[in-house]
Amino acid sequence: MIDALPLLSPAWPIILGGLLCGLIPWYGLRKAVSLAMPLIAMAFWFSVDQPGTFGALEVAGFTFETFRYDGLSRVWGLIFIIATFLNSIYGLHDRDRLQDATALIYAGAGLGAVFAGDLLSLFFFWELTAISSVFLIWASRNPAAFRAGLRYLAIHVLSGVLLLAGSIIYATNTGSWAFNDIGLDAPGGVLIFLAFGIKCAFPLLHNWLQDAYPKSTVVGAVVLSAFTTKLAVYALARGFAGTEMLIWIGAIMTAFPVFFAVIENDLRKVLAYSLNNQLGFMVVGIGVGTELALNGAAAHAFVHIIYKALLFMSMGAVLYRVGTVKASALGGLFKSMPYSAFFCIIGAASISAFPLMSGFVAKSLTLAATAQEGHWITWLVLVFASAGVLEHSGIKIPYFAFFSHDSGKRVKEAPWNMLLAMGIAAFLCVFIGVFPGYLYAILPFEMDYQPYTFDHVVGQMQLLIAAMFAFSLLMRFGLYPAERPSVNLDTDWFYRRMGDGLFKWAWAMGGRLSASIQNRFGVAGRALTQRLFNLFSPAGAMSRDVPSGLLAIWTSVLLGLVMVIAYVAG
């Protein structure tokens, strides 16, 4: 029956499902669609048995390659479909129609980008992920989420603009729109690299992630955790494999979030930092660029999507029942949410790479490849980051939410659908850890790798048990920084505080200048300042409020630049 299916990208049924969900007012039917469409997408994925490019669309003389199925896109496509299905189960209790629709469109856009064979198709789906996903942040329906969503959207549209500009330059100079190996030396390569880097949350470009994800809804954060950043990892693996700079970028990405996560009070923000750390491992693998390393990046992305979703699900369950995920307000929840606690521990053990868990069989590929190629400093950083992962995701998340001091909060266990989604994710974490052969079989390159050697198991257990010993000692002697209600400055300070301050200063200076002009030039001066006010004031034509207006202006400027570049290049 599967053979009879047309060779279409699995993205289409999911996007169609999203559009339908936007139109269907009946909750039950909407949920049926959101469950059925990933299954249909899965059937589409299984219907292809040979690598190739399918589903070409001719539009205005340009051929959009919407379904390029090969070793790399295959593994990413599969995990995106699995994640979509799990997300649909997790969100079954939620009656938000807009969220149902945008979650599916976003997932479909991610899939579409993964299967895109040319840069224009990639750009289309790339932008669609940005535009659809922002609704998952806005779905929280509070001012903080709205502003964070605007910042998120501006940054991601900027990523899209850079991708388009780079693609135009690349295609004009090479005569090809094909999305294959690009490299930094290619015309437009740096712009495309930056576009991918923004979405991948490279250091200094990372803070949109910690800013936006924790402000999303219970379901939204789970959905967001799966697609955007892993799509960027895929794009880097496709276009920039073996780029040495990525080794250093990835190493920094693994290490710096560890320090931020220790003092972070919002546990979903801790997970966002943890996401950064995990992406670092994948980026290092892509930078190393050998077959083993690229397999490592792909395997890590696969298992990471599952255990990170599981961790976000468990914190989502806590948020849903308790109303907060601030570590300072939690503790002792295992007494009322034992199943959620158990699944959270499975996710924590997986991300920490305990033997028999999925992280163990995936992360070791990247570490082995890095050491094999003689990148010793990077390897050392990765080993440190592995201990760091145990700190923030392995211990901090389950410990401060479910154990630690008893907050006295007694709530209901998570709804059945949340538990089911967590249960399936937890099962996959263990299954892949115990039977890694199934994962290895779908990786881009064939390999002969045995994760369960005496040396590897003993080495990893040394690292983890000694790190747990350090945690116990630090807690016993009161040396672990207590969880406190606070925020920590990160790079978002530059645009949320310094940029805002600069704007206010410039506004005050502008006021003085305006007064001075009026005094000096009388009526003509007043007319000029009035016109400027009408144009640039917060209520003026250029913007309605400060952050969105400014960012929109900059985005427009960049879009204009793209058009100029396209014109000159053409």
């Binding site: 002792g332 009322s336 747990m468």
Partner: protein, 105 residues
């Protein structure tokens, strides 16, 4: 003698404990925490000592030192946690820090 208010409240929260969780209430006992600490200490040294019995083969020479991963795990973890103290002083701000500035959060 009638029960005091705090003890009534404690009894109420104890009544609300999930039946499955009741099986694991022992994890809260301080004595269990202490035993766990001792266990982890012994396990760390034991796993490190395994290197004296079996030579681990590594791509990086110095990773073959006895107990390398144990020392590195302990040291790396402690560094990350202890760095939190000065880091919090440096970048920690009140919870309403951005709210004051822009009506955010």
């Amino acid at each position: 003698m009638s029960e005091t208010k705090p003890s009534r409240k404690r009894k109420k929260t104890e009544d609300e404990i999930h039946p499955v969780s009741r099986l694991f209430l022992w994890v809260e006992k301080p004595s269990v925490h202490f035993i766990f600490l001792i266990f982890l200490g012994i396990a760390s040294f034991g796993l490190g000592a395994l290197d004296f019995l079996h030579h681990r083969h590594e791509y990086v020479d110095w990773a073959e030192w006895h107990g390398f991963y144990a020392w590195f795990g302990f040291g790396g973890f402690a560094l990350a946690v202890l760095a939190g103290w000065p880091l919090r002083k440096l970048i920690g701000r009140p919870e309403d820090y951005y709210e004051k500035a822009a009506g955010d959060d």
